[in-house]
Symmetry: C2
Subunit: 242 residues, 2 copies
Amino acid sequence: MNSWPDPGSALPLLWRTAERPSRGSGLTIGAIVEAAVLIADADGIGAVTMRSVAERLGVGTMSLYTHVPGKRELYALMLDRVFADAAEKPEGDWRERCAAIARQDRDRYLRHPWLLELPAARPAFGPNVTAKYDRDLAALDGTGLTAAEMNAAVMSLTSFVYGAARFQSQARSDERDGRGERRFWQDHEPFMHLVLDPERFPTAHRVAEEARNEGDADHDSSFEFGLERLLVGIGDLIGRRA
Amino acid sequence: MNSWPDPGSALPLLWRTAERPSRGSGLTIGAIVEAAVLIADADGIGAVTMRSVAERLGVGTMSLYTHVPGKRELYALMLDRVFADAAEKPEGDWRERCAAIARQDRDRYLRHPWLLELPAARPAFGPNVTAKYDRDLAALDGTGLTAAEMNAAVMSLTSFVYGAARFQSQARSDERDGRGERRFWQDHEPFMHLVLDPERFPTAHRVAEEARNEGDADHDSSFEFGLERLLVGIGDLIGRRA
DNA sequence: ACGTCGTACCGTACAACATACGGTAGAGGT
DNA sequence: ACCTCTACCGTATGTTGTACGGTACGACGT
């Protein structure tokens, strides 16, 4: 259940080349996808069931299947839909462009955390996904990198952003559900003599002590730290090409 | 359903401070976790059901609940179990240590792809998870970074590795299921005039052309590319501290 | 205006899931 | 020999995606 549908079944829907007409109910692909996205934003991807989507549209469950072959195709449509915000190209030099894209991607993941539950790689090239891919590559255009290097650099940034967003998003939803940092350490209390054993785990013990005094870095600054390091590393390669 | 159990319910199991005795069936926490891991390795996390685990152990489904409060706790136990390979510390300078850890983490994700479906952040500090955290920090010890910087650097590497592994793992399982690269582009064929439209998506069009001639970079070299860039970036910071 | 047909829409049914609940039988203590 | 505790399990419930077989409505030919 955790893979994309065949592009063959998703692409005609993504590009709307096989849209079925609506009769009296106003049911269209667009309406179904919109309802699904709203539900997912509000209550998570787990709340997106064929029943819940149909109910929100005031329609029988099985009616959805007239317009969408199944749930996987609905997921593919939802993904392409929320990438609509990646239309216009960012300004500045390659570094600013990459940073802007990374931050926008991170923000999109935080706005639609269910994106992180979907398969990560190779979604079908719908209109908005294609536009985003084009924009990502354009950010590195004119740097003297080869096509393969551009692809690898985009992939590296994408991987980092994906991972970082996943950690931050989970922390955020944990916090919302009362399973936050405080609760986490409270529950650990009876086991801290095992976890912070200075014999067994000396570095963790010491760093935990020091971090307690320094104050913890939050996810935002941790993201900026990693993004900065990665861009410095890519800049090093670009500099060596010139 | 997609969150960790309360650490309060997982920790006694993780540290085996509340193990129930087995009667005639040989049922223990360890046996249950081992069976679950084997099923997940073979057929994915989706195949790990209370029924399938019980069946593999020759035991009634509900008997598992004597030893494990629920499925979430089982997930937490599975995670800690496969981190047992992170015991010994890697050799070399900080750079080699970090690279070795990153590669080992990536390999673990590829060996146990279901790890990527579990929540990413803040698993309960079981014995092996704690050991891994200690080892990660130790890799950056003696570099002159502050505790907060060490944490951020570990987090950055972890995020990148997690994301990269997620992409690579999905590509691998897609390939295994006959949904590989070849099939992907075959299915796209009827839509390539839309996807590679040089008017709408000029950079994607050009890079796709060039990459066709250069040959595609695989996931392994893409991983090494990103790891190298990230380590160069971290090295830049360390150099500035000295 | 009327008959006919394609299909948008939907009610019911089924298999798979986690797990609540209430037993049962067998091991260990006295 | 008897009692008690609990490891083990059968059954039942609510939820999921979706297969299957209708039904009734919009459009079109005459």
